[in-house]
Structures are given as C-alpha cells and as structure tokens.
C-alpha cells in the first residue's frame, strides 16, 4: 500500500481507531495483521519472502544467544548469509547474470539465460537491513533475544517503516512494542501534522517536480544544456521531498500510536560539506553503515590511506545497496571521492571560506549542493550511457530556450512548483532555527487550523493521488 493512496487514507484511520479502542494486550496483534495487509497490497507473495528471513533471524538469534566463540560467529554468519542471500537472489540476480554474461561473452562468446523470473519485493533492502541489525546486536550483546515471535515479526514488519524505513535498531524499537501508549492529544496532533507535511512534500512537491524531470530523463539525448540542468535540479528536489516526505509520514503515523522512530532527514541541502550532507541525508542508513561496516573496518582509527579505503568501501557498498546497477556504484563512488577530497582540502577550505563569514558558509553550501546534485545524475539516469551523455552535455549549448522549457512544464504546474518550493524553503530554513511544530502549537486555534487547512487543500488541489510510487520503494 502506498502512503499517498486512497487505500491508505482508509487504512490509517481504521487501524488507528482500532489501536486506541481494543485492549492494550492485543495491540501488537492488530499491528502485525495491519502490517501484513499493508504489505500484501503490493503483492501478497512478498510476505512469504519476508517471513523466510523473519523465521531464520528469529531462531538464529536464539542460537547466537546460547553459543560462544566460533559457534556464535557461525550462528551470526548463518543469519547474515540468509539475509544477504535473499537480497542477492531477489535484487542482484539479474545484475550478477548481466555481468557474468558480459564476461563470458568477451571470453568465449556465450551467454547464460536467466532461469527464473524474479521480481524484487518492495522495500527488501530496508527490512533486510533492519533484520540484520537485530542479529548483529544480539551477537554483540547489546540486545536481548526477543522471545515473542509475533513481536519480532512486528519489529521487521511494522507498517509505517516497512517499505522505506527509517531502518531501525532493535534497541530503539523492540521495547516500544511492549509499552502501553495512552492516548495523548498533543502527541497525536504532532504526528498528524508531520504526516500532513510529509504528504505535502510527496504529493505536491515531489510528484509535480517529477513530471518534468521524468520527461527529460525518459529521453535525455533530445536535450542538452539548460533543460538538463533544470531536470537534474528538479530531480534533486523531487528525490529529497519524495524520500523525506515518506519518512515524515512514517514517523508521523508511528507517533500517532505512540511509537518513536528515529529521524531520517535533517535538511540535507543546507549542509556545508558532503560529510555533513551524509549526517543529514538518510540518517538511518548512514548510521547503519557506520555501525555495521565502517567501524568494523576500522573507521578512522587507522592509517590515512586505509581510512580513505574504508570510506570508499562504505560508499561503494551503499551505492550497490541502492540498486543493482553500476550507475548506483558510481553514485556511491562519487560521494566517497567527495568525502576524501573534502578531507584532503580541509585546511585550504578553512583558509578560503572562514574569512568570508556568512558568504563563506553560503558558498560552501552551494558547492556541497552542486556536488550532490551532480551525483544524482548517475542515480536517476536509466543506464550508464544516458548518465554519461547527461553529465557531458550539462553545459553544452542549450537545445531549448527557457520559454520552451516553461512550455514543457506548463504555466499551471509552474505556479505549483514555485509555491511548493518556496514553502519548502521557508519551512526548512525555519526548522533549522526552531521546532516548527512547537511554533505552530503556540498559535491560537484558528491560526493552527488555518495552517492545517491550507496544506490539506493545497494537497487536494495540487497533489497527485496514488499515481506515483515513492522512489525509495525500489530499493
């Protein structure tokens, strides 16, 4: 089920109503059933795959818990192999075969026909990583084994964060399924408000910016210069609003019921370096890689060349996590190079930008955004050929004038894009200084309601309903 769908607008109030009306001890059962229904709306068969990893990890955790030494390691390995195996099977099967084929074709002119017709289950990378963090934490002794199978299944399947995160750690979420969350109006309103903001970002901003970006990315070779620059800028806004909008809806809907999910975005386009960008973008994934890959590799407590290698490994793996294509690996690699280059030039940057004061901050922010935007080309392009064309024709003589581009966007949509972007910009700027939710809470009721109505009607009138999926679902 997609958050921005008609079905969810029915599903959410029904589940929330039942959640606060049924006896507390049955709530986890309600949430588990609701999560199954939520996921089955995509394709019910997906649940079977999900339950395979749930069962493996549930029992692997017991095995880890009661064993020591090599056996403990073996138990963890079984869990990790099962999870990564499922991921490899469903996500990287065709990618592996394609690469194998290009190798064998060069060597002896033969290719291998894929034997199975495999569809990637929605959000597989997210719940696999969440499941892996459970067995790793049990292995490390940071998390007690969960004995209730239903609660463990709910940890992996909890519908607000099932298909696109935030990727939670067991220490943060598992115990919450045992807590009794009483109805709290302030908390519920705050959750609903966050959901409203998420819907606004997704349905008004992301989906409207997508209409132009999709046209250009659908046939990149027809364009050069300005239309490509506009397309990648639009896509940068789209992907941010799409994914952070999803996270807001997820966190908001969980908050309504009392659950506290980790923050996933902190206004990344206001970052002043790529290192800071990654502390603000997809935080649950960056911290996952930090905790389970970067630090085990040695982190920054090693010689500098090894540290740089660690950074590159993490970003290349992160790229591959996002998609089974070399484009994603290049995207990850670019961010790795940005990080290393940022570290190498840190003294020079300080010398140049610090004396400029606020202007220096602004310039650093623009450079960071420009680098991130450039990398998105590889993230969005259909294939490497398109990405290379896009990257090499960004500053060529423009194939379309500004007037022609605005004609492509349509004047009506232009108003939506401008209004949506300005609202986003001002809200984000304000969030940087203060808690916007608390600011709204301090307003008199008529002002609060006016703000809510404004956003709700803006979504109704200018939003896309159900037509577009969230970008990060594919991962």
């Amino acid at each position: 089920m997609v958050f921005s769908s008609f079905e969810f607008f029915l599903f959410f109030p029904i589940v929330t109503f039942l959640y606060f009306t049924i006896p507390y001890r049955y709530r986890w059962i309600l949430l588990l059933i609701s999560s199954c229904i939520f996921y089955a709306f995509f394709k019910w068969e997906y649940i079977l795959i999900l339950f395979f990893t749930i069962i493996v990890d549930y029992y692997a955790a017991f095995w880890i818990d009661r064993s020591q030494g090599r056996e403990r390691k073996l138990a963890l390995a079984v869990s990790l192999v099962a999870n990564i195996g499922v991921l490899a099977m469903f996500k990287y099967y065709y990618f592996l075969i394609d690469n194998f084929n290009s190798l064998t074709f060069r060597l002896n002119g033969t290719t291998y026909e894929p034997r199975w017709d495999i569809i990637l289950p929605i959000g597989l990378s997210f719940h696999t990583f969440q499941a892996m963090s459970y067995t790793i934490e049990v292995y490390r002794g940071h998390q007690k084994v969960e004995r209730n199978f239903g609660i463990y299944a709910l940890y992996v399947m909890f519908y607000p964060q099932l298909v696109a995160g935030p990727i939670e750690r067991p220490q943060n979420i598992l115990h919450q399924f045992y807590e009794k969350f009483d109805f709290n109006e302030t908390r519920v309103v705050s959750g609903l408000r966050l959901m409203l903001w998420g819907f606004f970002k997704k349905m008004v901003i992301a989906d409207n910016f997508a209409t132009y970006a999709d046209v250009v990315f659908g046939d990149v070779h027809r364009y050069q210069g300005l239309p490509l620059i506009v397309a990648i800028l639009f896509y940068s806004i789209q992907i941010y609003c799409d994914f952070s909008g999803y996270s807001d809806i997820a966190i908001g809907s969980a908050r309504v019921m009392g659950f506290k999910l980790m923050n996933n975005f902190k206004r990344p386009y206001l970052a002043k370096s790529i290192a800071e960008f990654w502390k603000r973008w997809h935080i649950s994934l960056s911290t996952w890689f930090r905790d389970y890959l970067y630090i085990p590799l040695g982190g920054n407590r090693v010689a500098i060349p090894r540290w740089y290698l660690n950074i590159m490994i993490v970003f290349l793996v992160s790229g591959l996590w996002h998609g089974a294509s070399w484009n994603f690996v290049i995207w990850g690699g670019l961010h790795g190079i940005y990080q290393i280059f940022g570290h190498l030039t840190r003294n020079m940057q300080k010398a140049v930008f610090t004396p400029l004061g606020k202007l220096g901050d602004l310039l650093q922010n623009w450079i960071t955004v420009a680098l991130a935007v450039f990398a998105w080309i590889f993230f969005r392009a259909e294939n490497f050929r398109d990405a290379r064309y896009f990257a090499t024709h960004l500053f060529s003589e423009s194939s379309h004038t500004w007037k022609e581009i605005t004609h492509l966007i349509t004047p009506q949509a232009l108003f939506t894009l401008a209004a949506g972007f300005l609202i986003l910009y001002f809200v984000e700027k304000m969030q940087e200084r203060t808690a916007v939710g608390a600011w709204v809470d301090r307003k008199p009721r008529w002002q609060r309601w006016s703000i809510y109505y404004f956003f709700a009607f803006f979504i109704l009138v200018f939003g896309y309903f159900g037509a577009m999926q969230f970008i990060y679902f594919q991962f």
Partner: protein, 342 residues
Amino acid sequence: MDKKFFKFIPKVLLFGSPFILLALSYFVFDPFHVLRNYRHYGSNYLKTFNRNRISTQTYLNYKDEHRFNSFIFGSSRASAFQTGDWAKLIHEPAPFHFDAFNDNISGIRGKLEFIDRNGSEIKNALIIIDSDTFSEQYDESESIVHHKDYRWTDEGILAYHTRFFKAYFKKKYFVSYLDLKIFNTYRPFYMDEFFKFKYYYTTPGNDFLFPENIENIRKDSVKYYSDPEFHERIEKPAMMDRQIKKHHLADLKTIDSLFKAHQTNYKVIIGPAFDQREYHPIDLNILAIYFGKKNIYNYTGKNQYTNDIRNYYEMSHYKPAAGRRIMQEIYNPTENGTSAIQ
C-alpha cells in the same frame, strides 16, 4: 479503551468536516452518473460520461419494455450505423446500440455475454470493427470514460465505484466540477475533465449523435470541409499492421459460440476508415475463420466511401449517411454493390 481518544474524535470530525462534505458531494452530485439509475442521458456536453455505463444502464432500463433482440456493437465509429436505419432492413421494431468509446473485442464479448445472461434474444447483430477493436490501450489506461462496466467484467462493484470515487479527486477534477456546478460557467483552464464536443445519446435505442457537427455542416459546409485535416491524406497509405493477437482468439470464439447459440443473423463490418489504410489480409482471414467469409464486409482502403470526404464528420467518425448506404448494400445487395470478402 481510552476515554481521551473518544473525546478527541469529535474534534477530528469537526476539523475534517470540509473534507467529509467534499466526499459527500460526490455521492450527492454523482458527477460521472454511475451511482444512480438515469432513464435518459441526453447531451454529454461539459459532462464526464462513461459510455459503457450509459449503454449498459439504458439496455437494462428498456430491455423488457422494448424487447431488444438486435444489437449494434463497436466504438463511437459505430454511431454511423443507426438503429432506425437498421430496423427497416432487418424488420425489427427496436434495435439497440450497445457501443462504448473505443470499445474493443473483450468489451463486445462482455456485452454479448451480458445480454445472454439477461435473457435477451440476439436475433440480429452488427459488429463494427476499427483500429480500436483489437487494442487494449484504453483498458490499461486510467481513463474513467472508457472504463468497462462491472456488470459484465470480472471487476467487483466496490472496486468499480472506488475507481470513480478516486477519479473525483484526481487531477483537480472536483475543483472544475464544483466550479462548473456552482457558477455554471465554462472556464478556459478546464483541461480534459469534460467533453467539449456536443454528443447526444438517444433513448431507448442509445444511438450516438453529432448535433454540433451536423449544425456546423448545415451552416457552411464549404468552410467545414476546407479544414486542412480533410485534405492531408497520404496518397498511397500503408496497409494496417496486424491487429489480431493470440489472446483475442478466445473472445472471437466466445462471440461465435454465442451467435451460434442464438442463431444470430450477424454481419461484421470493417468500417471505412478515413486514412484509407487497407485492413490486413491475415486479420481478415482470421475474422473469416470465426464468422465466415459471407458475413465479413470490408470497407477499408480506397473506395467510394473513403474517397468522399463528405462522408466524414472528422477523421475518426463517418456519417450515418455512409452507414445507411453500407447497410443497404449488405442487406439488399445489388450485383456490384456488396463488399463481402468472398
């Protein structure tokens, strides 16, 4: 149970009342005319009618009263074959026009099965074939004016109505609809929400008329036909691509079986398409396998109908005058008049 939660519900309802009213407006106004039964639909000007719904509902409304036993199937191009003209040739008092926008073979099959299930006799049938007949383009689209009626498809009633309800909120439809409803003024920003052509649907025969085109031709036919579109035909148009795919054969077989079961006197007409492209001979042969060569009448390509631009309202639709002459040729063949593929 949490008492605070129950105290919160009225606040939610109060806050949500504009949205609840908006949702209710769908049920009150029935913008797509799919919730209630309408005895007569009339003009579709600035409305969003689903032709499948109109045809199905009109059939149900009048089938017993008029004892329909003769049916015309096809897309809006079948409008050239009018029930009044056909009635004289088949000597039946009340034929019924069971067409739909861009209807395809599965739509025709569904309608025939529906007629059969409803106990109507299928004594005569005309199937008008065109470029839409073997296309699934509109089945795969989200177009609500093309959506097939749940009463003769596998779709459930809830899914059917949910689709229309959702459409009310998509693409700002409700804004345009309520604006038009309240102020009764057409505004230039309306996109494709409403029909801007003045079609008219008759009751009970369910014929599909083009009053606006007729009026414009009557006013100044020279000007009407001086539109460059009428004069931009390719001199030697390529033959049509093959249309009939393997998955269409089951529909053809079902239609053939129903015709046999009802001992239907049927004719299959491949209409005189304006582009003058010949129907593919393999497709013609496939149709002949199911319906018999003597029942297939091919009017595509260059011929007396397609050569004369005055037989057309526009590029898609030919006139009832052409349809009348074609039916006369078929039912009262003269020596050199028939186009049956034999």
